[in-house]
């Protein structure tokens, strides 16, 4: 219910320009309100696992993002955006269609399944470890520009559809950040586009490097990078 209220408020507040960021109604709200069935979520996830892997960890090189642990609301929004043509991703597109993953109930089920998967303890990181000037530069940029929405530890906000970004692969985040900045990611939050418009490429690399190195809470991580998803035995 709170999602519906937020969506309504968002629609009222940003009428027009922000429609591409968060359109209310339809299967997005429907999926958020449905009681998820994890067993069906696993069945639906099988098609996704071809690229995102059974563990939901994606690829370290950033080709495919990590989905494990991501807020359900965020993934419902992205899936709905891709299938409605509001986010361009030609490779992903057919997999977001009802033919591949079903209707609203299946959306609810599959994202509930991935949200519970333990996260990759060895995500792809930028090249600058703590102690380097670039790391410090990224940390400062993060604190000045990103904390308000993505949180001090990169945890995002399920309620506001802000993605969890800690633990995500560096190369994936860098690509998405660049697309948000340059207008290619059409479903981006206009507040973010505005916030990062003056970022240079170096700023972008530094801040994403920092984010890729924010520690993920231990309880959200798989016991080791060799962990395999037992549901796929």
């Amino acid at each position: 219910m709170k999602f519906k209220i937020f969506t309504l408020l968002a629609a009222l507040a940003f009428c027009g320009s922000a429609a591409a960021w968060l359109e209310g109604g339809g299967e997005r709200d429907e999926a958020l309100d449905l009681e998820p069935d994890l067993e069906n979520g696993l069945d639906v996830y099988e098609v996704c696992s071809g690229c995102h892997l059974p563990e939901g960890w994606g690829k370290k090189d950033g080709t495919f993002p990590q989905l494990a642990g991501q807020h359900r609301s965020v993934l419902i929004k992205q899936l709905a955006d891709i299938r409605e043509g509001n986010r361009d991703n030609p490779t992903m597109y057919p997999f977001a269609l009802p033919r591949a993953i079903g209707e609203a109930q299946s959306l609810a089920d599959v994202v509930a399944y991935t949200e519970k998967l333990p996260m990759n303890p060895d995500n792809g990181k930028g090249e600058w470890p703590a102690g380097t000037p670039e790391f410090d530069m990224g940390k400062k940029l993060y604190e000045d520009n990103c904390v308000e929405c993505h949180g001090k530890d990169g945890e995002g906000s399920a309620e506001k559809f802000y993605p969890k970004i800690h633990g995500q692969h560096y190369a994936y985040m860098l690509r998405q950040f660049e697309w948000v900045r340059d207008g290619k990611r059409r479903n981006a939050n206009p507040d973010m586009v505005e916030q990062i418009k003056s970022f240079s490429n170096k700023d972008m690399q530094a801040v994403i490097n920092y984010v890729s190195r924010i520690p993920v809470p231990k309880e959200d991580l798989a016991p080791s990078a060799d962990w395999t998803n037992p549901d796929f035995d």
Partner: protein
């Protein structure tokens, strides 16, 4: 010019064979899975996820290989090739060759 030690020549030849071997031995079936080909074209190469995607099983390897190369390089950018372009950095020339040969056997 100093004569080149035949042992060095042999070692160089051996090294080049060893470098080439993994590619020649690349398992097309394994690549077809790990490089995500099956997700769109189907495990059998004839059940694509969209009706607008091609069945590729049994295709002539030379044709498949050329299409893969052209989509990867951007020489072919028409139709729905953008969907495949997104993953083509995952394969090199030798892997594409192994894939083309495997697809022909499906």
């Amino acid at each position: 010019m100093k004569p080149v030690n035949p042992i060095i020549i042999s070692l160089a030849m051996l090294a080049s064979i060893m470098l080439a071997t993994p590619a020649l031995a690349a398992d097309g079936a394994q690549l077809y899975k790990t490089k995500t080909c099956f997700t769109c074209h189907g495990k059998d190469g004839k059940t694509p996820i969209l009706d607008t995607y091609p069945k590729i099983a049994g295709q002539n390897p030379a044709y498949s290989l050329q299409q893969m190369k052209d989509i990867k390089s951007g020489a072919r950018a028409n139709g729905l090739s953008a969907a495949m372009k997104g993953v083509m950095h995952l394969v090199n020339d030798d892997e594409m060759k192994a894939l083309a040969e495997y697809i022909a056997t499906l």
